[in-house]
Structure formats: C-alpha cells, structure tokens
C-alpha cells in the first residue's frame, strides 16, 4: 500500500510523469479532473456555509497535513497565508525526490476555478514555491 504519508512524493512524481507523457495539456486535464471529481466536500461546505465553510474545510485539511499558516475569516473575505506549506516542504526540501518545479501550480488549477464558479472572487499567488509560501484570497461579492 502506498501510505498517505508517502502520497505527496507520489503525487509530485505523477505530475512529472503526466507532463512527460502529454505536456501541460495532460497535466492540467488531471488537475481539472481532481477539481471536478475529488473536491466535492469543499463544494458542499461552501454551498452550505460560504466563507465559513471554506474556513471549516481548510481547518480540517491543513490541520491534518501540518505546516505553518494563518487563516483569516472576515464577513466578506477569507484568506489563507501559507508560511510553510507541508507539501511543498516535502517536494522541495526533503531530498526524497528530485524537486518538481511546477508542483505548486496544482493549487492554482484546483481551488480558484471552483470558488469562482460558486460566485466568489478567488486569487491564488505563489510567493515562493521552494520555501512553501503562497496566499489564497477569496472575496465575497455583495450579491452573494
């Protein structure tokens, strides 16, 4: 069994394999597939509780994954400031695999499109992949 504790390295190797096989098109198709087929619980949380649902979702996932981050929940905005991403740390700092430079892009294809589709204005900024720093900002339009 591939353990969930080994998954991030396998995930990065899968990205590299897909890129080598089919370029960015196949890689992005995979990320879009993950978004559409595997993030149903995030979609449910957001549809039920809006920004608070996002906070609940990432409190659970980031709580289990570890790392260092802050989450800010306002009436009209939700922000994750990732100071040290646990996944990026494994990919870029552990030495277990050859670092995969595009690793952090998967978050760009997973989260903002889903949140935008639900009516929010989401932006994701990779600040520094190697040190695992990024920011997700989600704004709630007045209409919601």
């Amino acid at each position: 069994m591939i353990s969930c504790t080994e998954f991030i390295w396998v995930y990065a190797e899968l990205f590299r394999f897909l890129e080598n096989r089919g370029g960015d098109d196949l890689l992005i198709k995979f990320w879009e597939g993950i978004r559409e087929n595997f993030l149903g619980n995030l979609r449910d949380y957001v549809e039920q509780d809006g920004l608070a649902g996002m906070h609940r979702y990432w409190s659970h996932t980031l709580g289990e994954e570890g790392g260092r981050h802050t989450m800010s929940l306002y009436d009209d905005m939700f922000v994750i400031d990732m100071h040290q991403c646990p996944s990026a740390n494994l990919v870029f700092q552990s030495g277990r695999i050859r670092p995969y430079e595009k690793y952090c892009r998967h978050c760009l294809w997973l989260y903002p499109p889903l949140l935008n589709e639900l009516g929010y204005e989401a932006t994701f900024t990779i600040i520094d992949a190697e040190t695992g720093q990024c920011r997700l900002t989600v704004k709630k339009p007045e209409a919601l």
Partner: protein
C-alpha cells in the same frame, strides 16, 4: 511523526484511474514501477542492507500510522503481510470516494519493483471489495 491525511488515498485512487484511462495499462505500470527508483529508493537501500527486516519495519510503521489491521509473520528469508482491513480501502469507502477499478494492483506493481531492485520477489492475493490481502516476500533465486 509524519502527518496522516487519509483523504490522500482517494486522490491517489483518482490518479491511478486517470493514468490508466488516459495513458493505458502499460503506462500505469511504468509509473508505479518507477516509484522504486524515487520515492521508495530509501526502502530499497535499507532492504539491501538489512533484508526483509527492513520491509517488516516499513510495514509495521506504515500500518501503525494508518491504523490498519495486519498480521506480520516470517523468518529471515520470507515475510508474510496479512492485511485484515486495508486503511486505504476502508477510508475511501467510508467517505464515498471512487475506488479505482484496479486499485489493489498498485500493491503488486510497487512491491514487485521495490523487491526486484533489492534482490527479493513478491506476490499478492487480494480481495479489493473486502479490502483484504495477503502479501508475500521472499529472497530471489540466485
């Protein structure tokens, strides 16, 4: 201690199905077997040094972390891992994640590649629906 986020089993399952559907069975095999040279290289090296004791320690650690129900048995030249409840299958079923058609094949392929690189052989008999399997490992013939 590593962080245990079991939803990753579902993401892996989706990834295995995606590779199979978009690249074919041979590619899926190539991807999984290649992990012995990357992700599992430390385990391969440990098995070359310590033999099946290294693999036994690996499985004990993995299933302790994941909370799986297993039995380990064997002597110096052979090892049997009996998985009574696979934590990956159990978690995916509990959370209604789609389970790849040939999910359990990944154990056969990854085990085979790791063992092949370390001078051992491996076999597995599984019941994917039940989430049970028996994995066997032994010294390869000279």
């Amino acid at each position: 201690m590593p962080n245990v986020h079991k939803d990753f089993h579902g993401a892996l399952s989706y990834g295995l199905q995606f590779v199979h559907d978009n690249c074919g069975e041979e590619a899926a095999h190539e991807f999984l077997a290649g992990l012995a040279e990357t992700v599992y290289q430390p385990l391969v090296e440990d098995m070359r040094r310590r033999g099946l004791a290294a693999l036994r320690d690996h499985w004990q650690r993995v299933f302790d972390l994941e909370g799986g129900e297993i039995e380990l048995a064997g002597s110096g030249d052979s090892l049997e891992l009996r998985v009574i409840q696979c934590p990956a299958i159990a978690h995916m079923r509990e959370h209604n994640y789609a389970i790849a058609d040939r999910f359990c094949e990944h154990c056969r392929i990854v085990n085979g590649a790791i063992c092949g690189a370390a001078g051992f052989d491996a076999g597995v008999e599984y019941d994917q629906k039940a989430g049970r399997c028996v994995q066997r490992f032994w010294k390869a013939a000279e």
